[in-house]
Amino acid sequence: MSAVAAGPLAGKRILVAKPGLDGHDAGAKVIALALRDAGAEVIYTGLRKSPEFIVRVALDEDVAAVGLSILSGSHQELAQEVLGGLRAAGAGDIPVFVGGTIPPQDRAALVAAGVKGVFTNDTPLAQMIDELARALA
């Protein structure tokens, strides 16, 4: 692998998960691929996973970060459940990021709940990678 260029997220294991009931994961896949291309090892779990399931995977996979892709509008509840589950499992140190259709007015409440960063569909991928790389450095 001598030809490999070390991307900004090289060596980071990141879980991309889709909690809730919405049935579209094109956005999550785009994010997963962008993270992979930045050098990350991305664990993707597929659609419609419960917060409890996501916490379990985050723990077992020993990830550096959890990215939640949420389009359903239930971002506040779902993010809080994941954050609470991680804290309850003694893994409150794993940062959680949220992406998807997040109205600007909801951003502050997510951050206040403990979400480390919020990315929406107008966030350029390069900017997201930069922010993640800084947060996980």
Binding site: M1, A3, V4, A5, A6, G7, L9, A10, G11, R13, A32, L33, L35, R36, D37, A38, G39, A40, E41, V42, I43, Y44, T45, G46, E52, F53, R56, V57, L59, D60, E61, D62, A89, G90, A91
Partner: protein
Amino acid sequence: MSGPLSGIVVLEVGHMLAGPYCGMLLADLGAEVIKIEPPEGDIGRRVSPHTVGAHNAYFASLNRSKKSVVLDLASDEGQAALHCLAARAHALVTNLRPAAIRKLGLTYETLKDANPGLVCVALTGYGLLGSHADRPAYDYVIQALTGVMAITGEPGSPPAKTGYSAVDNSAGMMGALGLLAKIVEGKGGQIDVSMHDVMLSQLNYLAGAWLNAGERAGRMARSAHPYIVPAQVFETSDGWLVVFISHDEFWRRFCVEVGRPEWLEDPRFATMAARRENREAVLAELVPLFKAGSSASWMARLAPLGVVAAPVATMEQALGSELARERDMVVAIEAGGATIRAVGNPIRLPGTAQAYGPPPRLGEHNAELLQARSNLAARVLARERRAVARAISEIENGSAEGEALSRQLARHCGRARMVGITGPPGAGKSTLVAALAKELLALGRSVAVVAVDPSSPLTGGALLGDRIRMGEVQGHDEVFIRSLASRGHAGGVSRATGRVAALLDAAGFDVVLIETVGAGQSEVGIAAIAATRLVVCPPGLGDDVQALKAGILEIADAFVVNKADLPGAERTARELVAMLALKKGARRPVFSTVATTGGGVGELARWLLAREAALAA
């Protein structure tokens, strides 16, 4: 701590004096000394009737600047924690009895698996092994056995022990010296220091005289030197004075000073050899001479001449002396609101700031040293999920901690069944793994899964998506799944896959299913890891069976034609059977499964367990 040994980590399983003194010398030189104590603590915590702050005064004098963790080394958990600590330590010092050292696994032989570079120092009475090894030994006993008592004291009076613990202190120093020699050498190993040997060694010139000239050593009146006269204690008008006139020039000055220049011409007194021959005559002159003056007056006369003499001081006078102050040898150590006064480090290092920390409270550093990574192995053995996950990361990343962990856990491996699941992309391996895990759960087995996906050769990144097809079994408490990226390793698995699987074995999972990347002909790395290999074939493999005869088909213990509900499945199974019939050797079954529905997977699971039993037999 600062000092030349900064960064060196020493574990001390010590009690009372020799081990703790050895540890303290190293701590004073900057080593991080971690004292491992039983739940009741080092007995030294209870020896003295005096306390200073929260500490027993005896303990405080021998254990400053150390950390303390409490471990029950007789328990599995204690042993696991010991191995974790040993993995990151440079040395271990113990002064337990040899039987206890062996029982508690405090030898290099036992700890080398955790850390081949570890230096293990055993301070014992009579050696780690041998006919006397397990006899009890204390400083007193060794002084009695080695002749030290027989040569100490006045002739005609009972044998005497040196006033301080010469044996324990000397053994502690020898242990530290041996330990540092091995650290300089850069290799781990056992150091076997016996207190009996140490004291024989310190009889050096007395032993040499007996061994080579047959000269017996005996108690000398007034602690006289056997060869040099006068060199002994003399009584003065108000105390005692040591005078040591070792050269004839000093004798000349002395004779002139005391107004007896004729002694210089006296053939009995003129030379060192003559004085030795005429010891009694010399003393007959000198004893009354010294008795006539005070110690101070003698010092005032002798010191300007360069004649070596000193009043016999009490320990209290010595500690309060100007010299002790000038050398900063009595130090004050802040310890939780109390100030501990102690004798400082005798090894002066100009340019290095000497620092002293308080002695540790019992188990004070458990949280710092045991709750974190250092007891990762114990937590893995207890199958604590987060610890297992973290340990896998350490192993996958090839960290020193991961390497140590693999070595530590090696003795806990070998119980789980390792099942490799390989085959070309699209064969349905992940779905089959999940279905198989479900069946094994139903059969009462706990299951770990290691799923390997390829890393990008361009970016090094990876998309680990096997979980997408693994369904609800992922949430089961008796299932642990870990996705690994191949990280450029050829052969269908990652470099760490085998060690990750071994860790899951140590964690107590009954079956470890290892799913390779979508494998072609030559990706047979799984063969070295898993005792049972399943090759999963998609329907329609058809003529490719011939092409695949070499490679992964050769390493299979069983074949699984998955997606058996699709056209072509039956033909693939038939062709596999036909191909296998051409080969001699053990029968290798061909299973047909529909992993999405679980069809045929129960039969496969039962075959695996039957094979497990056969392999174990």
